[in-house]
């Protein structure tokens, strides 16, 4: 048995194919092909959730993605759990667990329901008024309380074990929606030879043909025609048909995002399958066949379980074989709801009455209703409903007053007409236009290569829809150069053309009423809230939306926007188009983060870059730090050592013996060509034409505004070849900067740039024993001080592999940087280590590198400079050529503010108490007793404990710093004020003799 309300002979599901799931722990029998909504209804369950703010009992309102009420939590196991799933779109599978949300302790008895009684305190905008004071309470008291009380589902806490896929696709014509219109358009385009992608969010194609049994196309039942057409399309090589796939976003240049739900409907999905697949489609043309969504009627207590859209009841009956009630009322402003009554009546359900608020419904439906013996109350309205957890009666009164009559019902179907789904059209930046005759917003001005067809285009009538869609499909195919096929023709018939429709509040919910007539179910916004917003001064629809939260729930106002607009229009006494629609934004329906991020998580979120020596460093206990994407050895703690201990030991060892440092992450650019020196002259402040082959120079690169952009040592290997190094983080942007100038400003120069960062492994060997360590491993290079002085570069062999050996130092010690091809990096490192370790050397990491360079006052671009520092500010004037007539930044450096007295300049700071280490970023003042706000002179840029100096050292940017040498300044901290003396920046070996050792 798959539910007491399943009617034999109705619907398209197979009675023998059953599936069982649980709802709040209770077993529910369903049929394969059921949605959670249809299965619950088949079992007489209407109460499915509690509302967001008032915790009112809510049921199933719709049979589609517009569902605002029936949000459920669906799980396979603890990790595979998804909250806020719309019950009408979730297909059942055997063993699934469904739980209701936002209720405690149970769905039927929910403590939070007290909010409903207290609703006068929760009027629109109550967030902004009630929880204002004290300010501190917001974060600790109000917000947690609101979040707990007013809520949707609970996010899963376990890591998602499923995987997701991503695919790029290209086509001539993308058709969004596979109802009559979409299928017709796809067929015409495909027959013409176009590459077509047809998508529909439902498990099967057909759209409205799911419920409209009266439709015949080419003599065939509409739904069967749809399936046959889809089968025909699927068999064509040029067509991809995607069901369970939502076109959720329409972006620039016909780029459309689709999400395909691959396994969410399967009891035992193949582990190889992704749960969802994101399709990023670039379509030459797009046909929008997104249909329309039925609106609810706005009247008092229109939200009780059992009250639903008329078309939804038709879908449940005609597709799923489920009667939504035994005694069903209808409240409508549109002919379309009559057909729901007809279908139910013919299936044996009692129709209590059709209440039509129009005096004159369409003649055809009225005649048919009379013929079927259904009572029709024209010019009447439902003004209230009764029923605790499900509607039990409706109060019906003649429009304009009069006594109310109570009619017992167990379900109420409603329709206020149809809203064209212009979401994707609007996302494409098309402009909608208001059609006053039909009271609808329709596609107006197109911004991209797309066309809307069928009811989303306001096209009424089956044959008109078919013809429009066939024409659009063919047109789009021809426009993309397809010349195949002949004309496709289709003939459609249906029972009734529909008239009617209304927007805004109905009888009994008008101005001056205080009833709860819901406009937005998901956010609990009533008609009176919108009026309140207008009274409180919100006159723009965007303000009204935010004040009331109308249309701001996850359903994005698919049902509520037009009603809200109409009510605002009435209160403001301005026409609807003058008020305007709020903006439609992607996604059309919620998209999981899993689908969007696909494989980009965990290790694949952001690739880690590792140097060739990484494995050795790991094996020798290095602790790593992230520098950009690089993993760099930070320090090498020995057993029992803290970071501080390790760094102190490494610092001492380098100055007393030697140290090995992995400098492979430095950016490296090979600059080659007859004009290479001239090009570098323009890119750096220094002069390069004077640099002799075999020598190196420290270079500074500026931006055009005169501020330091990057620095590094450049070696000249030959007249026409330079080995340029950049900062670790700066390599890509320096390369881009150079390419930019070379390609666009100096294209006459014959220069080629090649990034070689990953080609070279770089091993810095620094310290008094550096030469002793390296000498036996070198071939073909005279290592003597005279032949190979500080700031030189030689090519030769190192451990038998080609090397570019630099004599340079970022520590102040005599030092070398051994460049070898990256593949040999670890082997060469190990060979050097084998010699270095017995000589008392150590491996050191980036922290020690930082301390040692600070002891020498060498700056780190990006730490001691911040994009507002010139070379002069950094005491690097010596590196700025005075002879050159041009380089990037030459003019910027002369700007009035850059040559002004009193600029912040880099200086050293020595704390009066040598044991105090300053905090980097701390502010510096002249007078510690100055009342706040104090005048801040600058800040600490680098600060370390220097084991070699036996005290703390620091660098700082200080206003007029060079003129303050010897002055005492102060660093105010929360708990104390630290006195410091301004000094130069060289703390070790001021004469620099050790470099040449």
């Amino acid at each position: 048995m798959s539910g007491a309300n399943r009617i034999a002979g109705q619907g398209r599901l197979t009675p023998a194919k059953t599936a069982r799931f649980t709802f709040d722990g209770k077993a529910i029998d369903a049929l394969e092909g059921d949605t959670v909504a249809s299965a619950l209804l088949a079992n007489g369950v209407h109460l499915v959730g509690r509302s967001f703010k008032y915790h009112r009992p809510r049921g199933i309102l719709s049979a589609g993605p517009e569902e605002p009420n029936a949000l459920i939590d669906v799980s396979r196991d603890a990790a595979r759990r998804q909250p806020n799933v719309r019950a009408p779109v979730q297909e059942v599978f055997d063993g699934m667990k469904v739980a209701s949300q936002n209720r405690w302790p149970s769905l039927a008895f929910d403590i939070g329901g007290v909010n409903n009684l207290m609703s006068p305190f929760f009027a629109a905008g109550f967030y902004y008024k009630t929880f204002m004071w004290p300010k501190a309470a917001w974060e600790k008291v109000y917000e947690p309380f609101i979040r707990k009380a007013a809520g949707l589902g609970v996010a899963p806490t376990e890591e998602d074990p499923d995987h997701y896929a991503n695919r790029y696709a290209y086509c001539d014509v993308l058709v969004a929606g596979a109802g009559v219109a979409g299928l017709s358009a796809a067929l015409a385009a495909a027959e013409a030879g176009a590459r077509v992608i047809l998508v529909d969010e439902q498990p099967e194609v057909g759209g409205a043909l799911h419920y409209d049994l009266s439709v015949k196309i080419d003599g065939q039942n509409g739904y069967d025609w749809a399936q046959a057409t889809a089968a025909k399309l699927k068999a064509m090589e040029n067509v991809t048909v995607l069901t369970r796939t939502t076109a959720f976003g329409y972006y620039n240049h016909n780029f459309v995002g689709l999400v395909e739900r691959v396994t969410d409907h399967l009891a035992k999905p193949d582990k190889k399958l992704p749960r969802e697949r994101l399709w990023q489609v670039r379509a030459k043309r797009v046909v929008l066949a997104t249909g329309s969504i039925e609106r609810h009627m706005v009247f008092a207590n229109n939200d009780r379980p059992g009250i639903m859209l008329a078309s939804a009841a038709r879908t449940y009956l005609n597709h799923f074989g489920v009667a939504v009630g035994r005694k069903v009322g209808v409240y409508t402003a549109s002919d379309s709801a009559y057909e729901a009554a007809f279908d139910l009546k013919r299936a044996g359900v009692t129709i209590a009455a059709i209440v039509d608020n129009r005096e004159k419904p369409g003649d055809a439906v009225l005649t048919e209703a009379r013929k079927l013996g259904i009572e029709v109350l024209t010019g009447h309205s439902v003004i209230d409903t009764k029923g605790k957890l499900r509607v039990s009666a409706i109060s019906v009164a003649r429009n304009g007053g009069g006594s109310a009559r109570s009619i017992a019902v167990d379900a109420l179907l409603m329709s206020a007409g149809w809203t064209p789904s212009v979401h994707l059209f609007s996302q494409s930046r098309g402009k909608v236009a208001y059609d006053a005759a039909s009271g609808r917003f329709l596609p107006g001005t197109y911004a991209q290569d797309c066309l809307s067809v069928g009811s989303c285009n306001g096209t009424d009538g089956l044959q008109a829809t078919i013809e429009e869609s066939l024409a659009a499909g063919e047109l789009m195919a021809r426009a993309t150069g397809n010349e195949g096929g002949g004309k496709v023709e289709l003939r459609g018939e249906n029972a009734f053309e529909w008239t009617g429709g209304m927007a805004g509040a109905g009888e009994g919910a008008g101005a001056d009423t205080t009833v709860k007539a819901f406009v937005d179910f998901q956010n609990d916004v009533c008609a009176k809230d919108i009026r309140l917003a207008v009274r409180e001064g919100m006159h723009s629809i965007e303000h009204i939306k935010r004040f009331t939260t109308n249309g701001m729930a996850t359903d994005q106002g698919k049902l509520s926007n037009i009603h809200g607009l109409a009510i605002a229009s009435e209160v403001l006494n301005r026409e609807i188009p003058k008020i305007g629609l709020t903006t439609f934004r992607a996604p059309y329906t919620p998209v999981t983060f899993g689908a969007l991020i696909s494989h980009s998580r965990g290790e694949l979120f952001d690739p880690a870059r590792k140097t060739p020596m990484h494995a050795w460093e790991e094996a020798h206990g290095a602790v790593f730090e992230d520098v950009g994407n690089w993993k760099r050895a930070w320090y090498y703690p020995r057993s029992g050592e803290t970071m501080h201990d390790a760094v102190n030991r490494e610092c001492r060892t380098v100055r007393n013996a030697a140290g090995l440092f992995d400098a492979s992450t430095l950016g490296k650019i090979e600059v080659v060509g007859p004009d290479a020196a001239e090009f570098l002259n323009l890119m750096y402040t220094n002069a390069w034409d004077t640099l002799k082959p075999g020598r190196c120079r420290y270079g500074i690169m500026l931006r055009e505004d005169g501020f330091v952009y990057d620095d590094g040592v450049v070696g000249r290997l030959a007249e026409d070849r330079f080995h340029v190094t950049t900062t670790t983080g700066g390599a890509p942007r320096v390369m881009n900067h150079m390419e930019d100038y070379l390609q666009t400003e100096f294209p006459h120069l014959k220069v080629w740039l090649t990034s070689t960062t990953e080609q070279w492994a770089v091993i810095a060997v620094q310290g008094p024993k550096a030469r002793e360590i390296l000498e036996p491993l070198v071939e073909g290079i005279d290592m003597s001080n005279d032949a190979f002085p500080h700031m030189s570069v030689r090519e030769g062999k190192f451990c038998g592999v080609p090397t570019r050996l630099f004599r340079m130092s970022f520590t102040g010690e005599a030092g070398y940087e051994v460049n070898v091809p990256a593949d040999y990096g670890q082997a060469v490192w190990e060979a050097i280590w084998a010699r270095a370790e017995p000589l008392g050397a150590c491996a050191y990491g980036t922290e020690t590198m930082h301390v040692l360079r600070a002891e020498k006052g060498y700056i780190i671009v990006g730490q001691d400079t911040d994009g507002t520092v010139t070379p002069h500010d950094a005491s690097l004037s010596w590196a700025v050529s005075k002879k050159k007539t041009d380089f990037v930044g030459i003019r910027g450096l002369k700007r009035p503010d850059l040559v002004k007295e009193g600029r912040k300049q880099l200086v050293g700071l020595l704390t009066k108490d040598p044991n105090v280490v300053l905090e980097e970023g701390a502010q510096i003042v002249a007078d510690p007793n100055e009342p706040k706000p104090m005048k801040m002179l600058g800040h600490v840029t680098s600060s370390y404990w220097s084991e070699n100096c036996g005290r703390s050292i620091a660098m700082a940017l200080v206003a007029g710093g060079q003129a303050r040498l010897g002055q005492t300044l102060y660093v105010p901290m929360p708990d104390r004020t630290i006195a410091v003396e301004v000094s130069d920046m060289v703390f070790v070996d001021k004469e620099g003799g050790r470099l040449n050792g």
Binding site: Y251, R429, A447, D705, N736, E739, T744, D886, P896
Partner: protein, 110 residues
């Protein structure tokens, strides 16, 4: 995501392959060191923010690596054309440049 025509590769590729490079047709003065503060200001700091037609630089950074120029509508994001670096600013048929009206504001900076 934009679809951008690279005039060097001679095909449309996804925006993912490109990097935007700011306004086009702002030539670096050849007498850079000698320009006045006002000229430098015009060259380096001042930019139009037109609603409509804009000429801008792009680099096909994950493709051929070349810089090129494009004419785009800032409202619709429609590209009118792309063309190689160094080519003169083209006329865009049927579209008047908002920037054209204040073309002659800087010395030799433009």
């Amino acid at each position: 995501m934009l679809l951008i025509y690279c005039p060097y590769c001679e095909e449309e590729r996804s925006e993912l392959e490109f990097r935007h490079g700011g306004d086009a047709h702002i030539a670096r003065p050849t007498n850079m060191a000698d320009i006045t503060d006002e000229e430098f200001q015009e060259f380096f700091f001042l930019r139009d923010n037109p609603k409509g037609l804009i000429f801008e630089r792009w680099r096909h950074i994950h493709g051929c690596g070349r810089f090129f120029n494009a004419a785009r509508d800032t409202v619709s994001d429609k590209f009118y054309m792309s063309y190689k670096a160094g080519q003169p600013k083209p006329d865009v048929p049927g579209v008047t440049s908002a920037a054209a009206t204040n073309e002659n504001t800087g010395g030799n900076a433009k």
